[in-house]
Each structure stands twice: as structure tokens, then as C-alpha cells.
């Protein structure tokens, strides 16, 4: 962020998962699988990858190179939610040891990661005395938060915080669309996707360039991804104008969304099976006479449907062939209609505010979700179809695995004996190691160019 930018940096925060939730889900608390402070203590003691998180958060500044900034980690905000609902913001640490012992001692139910500030956030009040507003975020990963509750109007299998294997693929689609664009369009490399532990996914873009984006630049990326504009107060959910789609949208559509909608979602969500459901789609057709024609056909069909073909597929094909037929070419707005329907149902729905501001907190990977007991494991975007949220290791499962195999001293070995081993190995080899290599190079080159500059200055 440009430190001079006169933006209104609200020290605003929202806690992950404050969307509308059904009180009904509270009963999950007493799941047999159990989540409790004692289990958590053991998890932080034996399984949680402290040193990997530490190395990640240092971004190479824990090295011996003279270009390293030893204050870097200490300016990062960590925030803990404790057992008794105590919320500790602005925690900061100067070493791996400090971080690890604090986590082990406090045993937080949730660890959130905030931005890197201009000064150590724990000492912000001391700096505030000087009057000049120096306490401000200077670096922050570009983050995305996608929550399946935001898809409630297009999934009929679950609602609220529930997920199942019928609706989870919506998240898979979101990962594919966003990940490809982050890499191909924006040129980012160091991207971490993680399961949020219950009902969504988080994305961390960690390239140096991404971490230094201003709020305005973050907002521009979030808006680049925004297609879904309406809510229940306005009819139109997705509005695509212009004779062709932007290359990003066109690619997302042909590579991911269309096949997913036609090949999977149409059937798994039975999108055209009942009148209530198909009326939603007919609503999206801007021409009333076309909608009426389809409605007529479909009502007729319901009375005597004997075909072995799936009714959703049959109706979808009818809709497509009618909308594409030559006689309707002249009607305004119909051209984009099929795309608009597919985008409405499948295109990723980001929580925009999370991405737009540097000071939003986001839950750290490898935390355990207190409601589900599931670990926030990384998701490999290249194999995201294979990710099964219902098979993610739970706290009690991990501890059982540890107990089963007896105790040995070696930490890594301990991890390998649990089903979390694979997740941690993936985190290291596919995310952390390449990231740290880049960081090292960057620190070196920045140092060298500074050196060069000061040499030049001296020669004057």
C-alpha cells in the first residue's frame, strides 16, 4: 500500500463466519467426534505444524542475510479466540519459539492472521502517543473467502452451514475459476487454498506483489471477479452485456462452468424437476412470451412423463433450442440468456469485503474448526475435484491415530503417522518451499540494488 494514499483505512474487522446461521446447527456441538480443549492441547502439542506456519509468516526474513528485516514477523498481527470466548487481537511474536509457546499455552480455538503493520501491533498504543498516525497496515496477503451459504438460492440439497457432496462441487468450480485467473491473468504464483473447516474455502495469494497491493488495487481484483450483482431485491442476478464475453469470463464459461452445469449440477440439484425450481429459471428469461411457451411445454410434460431420459436434461435442451432458434434472434437480451443462467448458478460468489481491505482477518490454515472438529487443510487446486470435505481429518481422529501407534519422539514422524501428514507435506512441497525460494531471491536482489544505489550515491 502506498503509505501516502489518503484512503480511509478503517480498522474494521469482521469475524469469520458471521453470516446468517441457523440456530439448529448448535446441536453439532455435542457430536460424538468431540471437540474439546484437552484434545486441542494435544493437537497443538504434537500435530500442529508450528514451524511451517512460522516460516511462512517470516517470508524469508528469519534468515541470516543482511537484507532481512528482523522486525518483519513482529509487525504481523495474530489474533486468538480462546475457549471462554475471549478474543485477543493484536498479538505479535518475534520468534518461532514465542509463537509456538504462546499457541501451546493459550490453546486458541481459532487463530486468525491479520496484516503486517508499520509497527509492532502489540505496541501500537505507544506509537499512537506520537500523534502522527503511524499504525497502519503495510502488507497483507491477497485473500479470498468463499462461503457455501452464499449459494443457498441455487442449492437444494442443503442450506446454511451444511454441506454435502452434491453441493460441495460448487466450491471446486470456484477454486478452478479463481485459481486459473489468479495465475494466468494476474500472474500470481504462490497461492494457497484451504478448507475453512466447515462450509467454504479460503485463498491466500502470497506473492510479494500481492502482499503489497493497496486497498484500491485489491478492490479492482475483487471487482474483476464480480459477475453476480443482484440480491433478492433486484431481479437480475447476473447481467452480461456486450456482443461477446471478456476473455476471462469466456474462458471460465467454456472451460469450467458450462460443463459443470450441464454435466453435473443440472442433475445433482434437479434444477428443472419441479415447478417451483423451473420458475426460477423462467424468471431469468427477459421475454415473457418465450418463458410462457416453455412453461406451457413443461406443465404439459409433467402430466405424462414416461421417457427414460432425465427430465432436467430434456427441459434444459428444450430451453436451449428455443432460445437459440432463429426466430428469436431479434429479441433483445435473449442472446446472453443461457450464459446468464449458467453464470447465476455456478459462477463463484466471493465475499467481496474480505478481499478489498488489508485489515481483514482470516483464519490460519491447520486450525481446527470448533463446530466440526475438522482441520483447515490445504486444497490442491490441480486436484480439487478429489477433495472431499467429509473425509477431512477431525481432531479426535488424529488423536486416535496418535494413540494407536504409540509415542515416539520425532515430531515429523509423529505427523506422518496421522492422516494429516499428507496435508502438511503438500503444504511444504507445493506452497512453502517455492515461496521461500522466491522470498530469498527477492531479499537478495532488493539488498543488492540498495547496495548499488548507496555506492552510486557515494561516488558523487
Amino acid at each position: 500500500m502506498n503509505p501516502g494514499e489518503a484512503e480511509n483505512c478503517r480498522e474494521d474487522m469482521e469475524i469469520d463466519g458471521n453470516g446468517p446461521e441457523m440456530p439448529a446447527q448448535r446441536h453439532v456441538d455435542i457430536m460424538p467426534d468431540g471437540f474439546n480443549a484437552n484434545y486441542l492441547k494435544a493437537y497443538y502439542g504434537k500435530v500442529f505444524p508450528h514451524s511451517d506456519i512460522f516460516k511462512w509468516m517470516c517470508y524469508g526474513h528469519d534468515g541470516k542475510h543482511p537484507g532481512c528485516d528482523p522486525t518483519y514477523l513482529s509487525r504481523r498481527e495474530f489474533s486468538f479466540t480462546l475457549d471462554n470466548d475471549i478474543y485477543l487481537r493484536f498479538q505479535s511474536y518475534t520468534s518461532a519459539y514465542e509463537l509456538e509457546s504462546s499457541i501451546k499455552e493459550k490453546c486458541p480455538f481459532k487463530i486468525d492472521i491479520g496484516p503486517v503493520y508499520s509497527v509492532n501491533p502489540a505496541k501500537r498504543h505507544a506509537y499512537a502517543q506520537t500523534g502522527d498516525n503511524v499504525f497502519t497496515p503495510v502488507e497483507r496477503e491477497l485473500i479470498f473467502d468463499i462461503d457455501i451459504t452464499d449459494y443457498d438460492d441455487v442449492r437444494f440439497c442443503c442450506s446454511g452451514a451444511d454441506i454435502c457432496l452434491d453441493c460441495w462441487p460448487l466450491m471446486t468450480v470456484a477454486i478452478k475459476v479463481i485459481d486459473t485467473a489468479l495465475r494466468d491473468d494476474f500472474g500470481f504464483i504462490h497461492i494457497l487454498w484451504a478448507y475453512s473447516g466447515r462450509r467454504g474455502v479460503h485463498c491466500w495469494v502470497c506473492d510479494a506483489k500481492a502482499r503489497r497491493l493497496s486497498n484500491e488495487q485489491r478492490a479492482s481484483i475483487a471487482d474483476y471477479f464480480r459477475v453476480y450483482k443482484g440480491n433478492e431485491n433486484s431481479n437480475k442476478k447476473v447481467s452480461l452485456v456486450g456482443p461477446v464475453l471478456h476473455p476471462f469470463l469466456a474462458r471460465s464459461y467454456t472451460d469450467v462452468l458450462r460443463d459443470f452445469f450441464e454435466g453435473k449440477m443440472l442433475l445433482s440439484q434437479n434444477i428443472l424437476s419441479t415447478e417451483e425450481k423451473y420458475e426460477k429459471i423462467l424468471d431469468m428469461i427477459p421475454d415473457e412470451s418465450v418463458a410462457a411457451e416453455l412453461r406451457g411445454k413443461w406443465q404439459e410434460m409433467r402430466k405424462a412423463y414416461g421417457s427414460k431420459d432425465d427430465i432436467n436434461v430434456v427441459r434444459w435442451e428444450q430451453l436451449k433450442s428455443l432460445l437459440c432458434s432463429a426466430k428469436l434472434k431479434h429479441i433483445q437480451g435473449l442472446r446472453r440468456c443461457i450464459e446468464e443462467i449458467i453464470f447465476s448458478f455456478t459462477y463463484p460468489r466471493l465475499d467481496m469485503e474480505v478481499s478489498k481491505h488489508m485489515n481483514h482477518l482470516l483464519k490460519a490454515p491447520f486450525c481446527v474448526h470448533p463446530k466440526t472438529g475438522r482441520v483447515c487443510v490445504p486444497i490442491d487446486p490441480n486436484n480439487c475435484e478429489e477433495f472431499d470435505p467429509t473425509a477431512v481429518p477431525t481432531l479426535s481422529q488424529l488423536l486416535q491415530e496418535l494413540n494407536m501407534s504409540g509415542s515416539r519422539a520425532d515430531m515429523d514422524d509423529e505427523l506422518d503417522r496421522t492422516s494429516l501428514g499428507r496435508a502438511v507435506r503438500y503444504f511444504r512441497s507445493s506452497f512453502l518451499q517455492p515461496l521461500l525460494r522466491s522470498c530469498k531471491e527477492e531479499i537478495e536482489s532488493a539488498y543488492n540494488s540498495r547496495l548499488q544505489q548507496s555506492k552510486n550515491n557515494l561516488s558523487w
Partner: protein
């Protein structure tokens, strides 16, 4: 202004182009009365730009508006004088608007907007000269590279309904961070971190540079102002400067109304009688769902603060609703912070100001959101229904919808006010809290007629009762 004292202020080195970059303050003698008069003229331009934006004017309309405004307010008989007026007024307003975060933010966006449209009005040669002046380090894409992206670039052009680029079209390849507005609206092709910017889009590049330069300059000016100018000029410039900023921005409703605090039990009445539609909708949704998403909590919460709901009552109010949905415990844990934050009791401890119409209109409500301006964000059908519930009749309705179609959202809101209250609102609606206050004034005068009493000091709170046809004595009782 009695003093005709002249003062060395600025020097002139930008006179070559008709659009200065305001890099440095020129050493010019300025008469004190010009100092103020020029600034007021420029403010008129900036204020009208701000109004244009909040009416949702399209870029082409804005371009025309800016051209006209400039002619009307900034023209001088001689070209060199016009140039001086431009530079002087800009630097005076820099002084006026450097002093708080909010002032800087407003000035920065309006000046940037002004610069944008004036840049577009320049000849291609002048534009190129300005780009050279700004020292932009970008080269045009060479032919070989252009061939490799030509298809995609044409696709983008078609997607925004522009003619595809010609063979000799110039494109600049720049890091996407440099053109956030083009990225946000998907008006450029982006590949591997670079945006391909067409010649007719370079205004975005130039504007980004201009904006970032001015932003830094404002911070520096502020430092200078607080450290020396304010004291040195306390008898001469300081009063003018302080007067200029307050006289024009209008009240921000950050302090609750002097007349009264409102109490919890009145909110329901007030919502029906005196809330503008945007707040009424949020209020009704809150009552219905016992929940509002973040944007809605901000918009309604700050409005209620401006109306006069104190922190304790605000907490009680939100808790009463949210606890029905998420439980009181979770409310205290997760939501109370935000409410205290709005009242400046947490975090940065800034007392946040209620949203103006402009801010409400420019918000972008998403799924599950209910904030924003209903006149802009509702479908026509939903808007009609909502207006009907407010008691707007058929005749008024069509006028309102007509304004909405022409994107005059504030005018539509003003008409709604008039239809609901049966009285005129000449100033127009610019702020939801203004709507509330004006509404209370109207209802108060009606109440006075109704009760035939002169001394209405203590009655204002319960004005809403009129609309509920409660007997007058009831109103009195509550007051004592």
C-alpha cells in the same frame, strides 16, 4: 474583505499546456479577495461533479458536465489569467481540504475526476505531451507482441462494445496494478500480470499517477499547515480556509441531533414515519430476519447514531434482534464489537459519520445484502411495492419511477419524501439523516397545528404518533 494586501504565493511553470499537473506552487502575487473568490468558483465545479456522480451520470454525461462547469466558473478573459486562476484555486483548495482524512478523501476524488475529464478534452498532442511530462515509463507494444494478443484485445473491445483495434493501434503494456479502474470493470485484457491498455484508455494511467501524486501532496500540505501556516496566518488565511471547507460540504450528521436523543421504544414509530426508504427497508429486514449483513449493519447503525440513538440503546436494540437468531451470547461475542466500533469505542476510536446518499448509492450490495439505495438497487417491481407500502399513491409513483429510470436517485427520493409528507422539500435529499430531520420538522409543524400549542420544545420525539393517529393527550402524557 477589507484587506487588499497582496501576497507572494505561487509561481507559474505549467502554463504551456492548458491542463496543469499542479506539481509545485508557483510564485504568483494573489489578491486576498481572489484567493477566496477563485477557490469558491473551483468548489462550485467540484461540488457539481460530486452531485453528478451521485446521480449516477454516465461517463459521457460527466464529460459534458465537466466541460460546461469549467466554462461557466473558471473562464477568464485572458488565457494566461485563466491558467493562473486554475492553479491558484487548486492550491488554495489543497490548503482547505488537507486538514482531515475525510476532507482529503473528498477533494482527492473530485480533483481526480475533474482532471480525468479535462484530460479527455485535450487534443491528442496535448495528451501525449502530458504523458511525457508525467514521465510514464511505458512503451507501446511492438508489432510482434501485438499480433500475439490481438485476438484477445479485440475480444475485450467487443465485450465493452467498442470497435476492434486497427492494425496500427497503439497499446501500452503496464502492470495491472497501475490501472485498477480498467481491471475492476474488465475493460482491459490482462495476461500474466500485465494489462494491455489501448490509447483511448491511457487516461486511466495518467489519472492513477495524478491521484497518487496529489494524495501524497495533500499529506505534506497538511503537515505544513499544522506545523506552521495555520499559526502564521491565523489572522488572514486561516479564517478563510476554515470557513471554505465547512461552508460547502454541508453537515455530515456525525453528531447526534442537538434537539433530542431518541429512545428505543420510539424507533418503531419513527421508522414508519420518518425513515427514508433505504433505512426503512433495512429496519424491516432486521425485524423480519433478526439479522443484517455487515453492509446493512453499518448503514443502518450509523444512521441511527446520527438520529440520536446512544451507544447503550444501540447495543440493546441490535441485541434484541440478533439474539433471536444467533443467541445473545454470540451477539456479544461477534457483533457488539462492530457497534461499539461505530461509536468510536473500539479499534481506531474514530467516531464514524453516517453515510451520505452518495455513499449509499455507490455501494454494491451482494447476495443477502439489504443496504444500498433502493431507488438504485431495487428492481422496478420491488421498488413499486416498497413505495406502495410507504403510502405513495399511483400518481406520485410514476413520477418517481421516471426519475429512477433516468438515474436521478436522489430526486426520486425527494419526490418520495414529498409524496409521503404532502409537503415540499426544496433543498432535495442529500443525506438519509437530512431526510429524517426534514421529516421530523414537517411532522412537528403538523403536530403544532394539530395540538394548537406554541411551545413544542419537548414534543419532537413523539411526532411519529401522528401517523398512528394516537390522541394528543397521549402524546402529552408520555412527555411528562
Amino acid at each position: 474583505m477589507q484587506s487588499l494586501g497582496t501576497r507572494r504565493v505561487y509561481h507559474q511553470n505549467d502554463a504551456v499546456s492548458t491542463l496543469p499537473l499542479y506539481r509545485s506552487a508557483p510564485p504568483l502575487e494573489v489578491r486576498l479577495e481572489d484567493f477566496e473568490a477563485f477557490a469558491v468558483d473551483r468548489l462550485r465545479v467540484l461540488k457539481a461533479i460530486s452531485d453528478g456522480l451521485s446521480r449516477g451520470k454516465k461517463p459521457e454525461e460527466m464529460e459534458k458536465l465537466v466541460e460546461e462547469l469549467w466554462k461557466t466558473h473558471m473562464k477568464q478573459p485572458k488565457l494566461s489569467e485563466a491558467g493562473n486562476k486554475d492553479v491558484i484555486s487548486h492550491f488554495v483548495l489543497r490548503l482547505v481540504y488537507c486538514r482531515t482524512e475525510d476532507l482529503r478523501k473528498w477533494f482527492l476524488s473530485m480533483e481526480t475526476m475533474l482532471f480525468r475529464y479535462r484530460f479527455k478534452l485535450q487534443s491528442p498532442e496535448a495528451q501525449r505531451a502530458l504523458m511525457a511530462d508525467l514521465d510514464l515509463p511505458y512503451k507501446a507494444v511492438n508489432t510482434a507482441e501485438f499480433e500475439s494478443v490481438k485476438d484477445k484485445v479485440s475480444q475485450v473491445a467487443r465485450s465493452i462494445v467498442q470497435p476492434p483495434p486497427t492494425e496500427d493501434a497503439k497499446f501500452y503494456k503496464v502492470p495491472f496494478e497501475e490501472v485498477p479502474e480498467l481491471v475492476a470493470s474488465r475493460r482491459v485484457y490482462i495476461h500474466q500480470g500485465n494489462a494491455y491498455v489501448a490509447m483511448n484508455q491511457v487516461v486511466s494511467l495518467v489519472v492513477t499517477q495524478f491521484r497518487s501524486f496529489l494524495s501524497k501532496a495533500l499529506i505534506l500540505t497538511n503537515r505544513k499547515w499544522t506545523s506552521s501556516i495555520k499559526e502564521q496566518e491565523k489572522d488572514r488565511l486561516t479564517p478563510i480556509v476554515e470557513e471554505l471547507s465547512t461552508s460547502y460540504l454541508g453537515p455530515d450528521y456525525s453528531q447526534p441531533r442537538e434537539s433530542a436523543e431518541i429512545s428505543l421504544k420510539d424507533i418503531d414509530h419513527l421508522a414508519k414515519s420518518s425513515f427514508p426508504l433505504c433505512m426503512r427497508h433495512l429496519y424491516e429486514k432486521l425485524k423480519e430476519d433478526h439479522h443484517l449483513k455487515h453492509g446493512g449493519r453499518m448503514q443502518l447503525g450509523l444512521f441511527l447514531k446520527g438520529v440520536g440513538l446512544n451507544l447503550d440503546d444501540a447495543l440493546a436494540f441490535w441485541r434484541a434482534e440478533f439474539s433471536q437468531k444467533v443467541g445473545a451470547e454470540r451477539f456479544d461475542k461477534e457483533y457488539a464489537y462492530n457497534i461499539r466500533h461505530n461509536y468510536g469505542r473500539e479499534g481506531k476510536r474514530t467516531d464514524y459519520t453516517p453515510f451520505s446518499c452518495q455513499k449509499v448509492i455507490s455501494s454494491t450490495p451482494g447476495v443477502g445484502d439489504h443496504h444500498g439505495c433502493p431507488f438504485r438497487h431495487f428492481s422496478e417491481e420491488n421498488l413499486r411495492a416498497a413505495l406502495g407500502r410507504m403510502g405513495v399513491g399511483n400518481r406520485g409513483m410514476d413520477d418517481i419511477i421516471d426519475k429512477v429510470r433516468n438515474r436521478h436517485y436522489q430526486v426520486a427520493c425527494t419526490l418520495t419524501f414529498e409524496a409521503v409528507h404532502g409537503s415540499t422539500c426544496d433543498a432535495g435529499i442529500n443525506h438519509p439523516n437530512q431526510y429524517f430531520i426534514d421529516s421530523q420538522k414537517v411532522l412537528q409543524s403538523k403536530l403544532l397545528e394539530y395540538m394548537s400549542i406554541k411551545d413544542a420544545e419537548e414534543t419532537i420525539i413523539l411526532l411519529a404518533n401522528i401517523s398512528n393517529c394516537e390522541p394528543a393527550h397521549h402524546v402529552k402524557q408520555k412527555n411528562f
